[in-house]
Symmetry: C2
Subunit: 134 residues, 2 copies
């Protein structure tokens, strides 16, 4: 067995609002506050300065990096989608399922429709894990 991801412990837990912003940056790449605000506005009401403030705080926390060359700064996600989701899943499994990851999986699979292809991918991963066990 190899050492696993202890670094997850040090990852900041983004709040819900912060996650919204990270999703925009992960999807669109480096963006200005205005661009992020416009994207967020499509799904909910949010003031421009609210988005700005959030991104400033996220920059302080180290969740975003920024380039301040021009008048309007350009922000970039400083944490990867994978690492962040890994950390979130860790916490979630712990708080909601008392550490039982397989219970979570069962719950999710039973509750959400997945496409044929998605099911295949999951099966494939399962077989792979099965082999590692032997």
């Amino acid at each position: 067995m190899f050492a696993t991801n202890n670094f997850v412990d040090h990852l900041m837990k983004p709040t819900d609002a912060e996650l919204e912003i990270l999703h925009v940056l992960w999807a669109n790449g480096p963006s200005t506050v205005r661009q992020v605000h416009e994207s967020l506005s499509q799904s909910r009401d949010i003031g421009y300065t609210t988005a700005l403030k959030l991104m400033q705080i996220m920059h302080e926390k180290g969740l975003l990096s920024r380039d301040a060359e021009s008048k309007s700064h350009t922000y970039t996600a400083a944490v990867s989608e994978e690492d962040t989701q890994r950390g979130l899943v860790d916490r979630f499994v712990e708080t909601a399922f008392k550490g039982s990851a397989s219970k979570l999986v069962m719950q999710v699979l039973g509750q959400h429709k997945a496409s044929q292809q998605e099911l295949e991918e999951i099966k494939q991963l399962l077989n792979q894990l099965n082999n590692e066990h032997n």
Copy 2:
């Protein structure tokens, strides 16, 4: 297709501290504040009146019911573990994975060790889902 669980929308979202208490009650059944507090004390520092206050609030919210016959009240979880976890998963898939349940499953399976038996159970569920697709 049948109507699915719209009632999930109306389920209160328990906070982290509230979830801790629900887990105790789900595991041990109806309990007094003292019993719950003793259980919680095993995993972390928490004052007696803190546990009491939390359970009073949860009672107000409808998360717990209580029997006030004797001097010390007996509390019972008023929401089921299944329903609660269903609601939590819904939110989590939405905020952390933008609705992609299969991405969540892949992330969890890749990240957490599951026993041979757990993997088998999951596979079985997958096959079942596969059949429903055809």
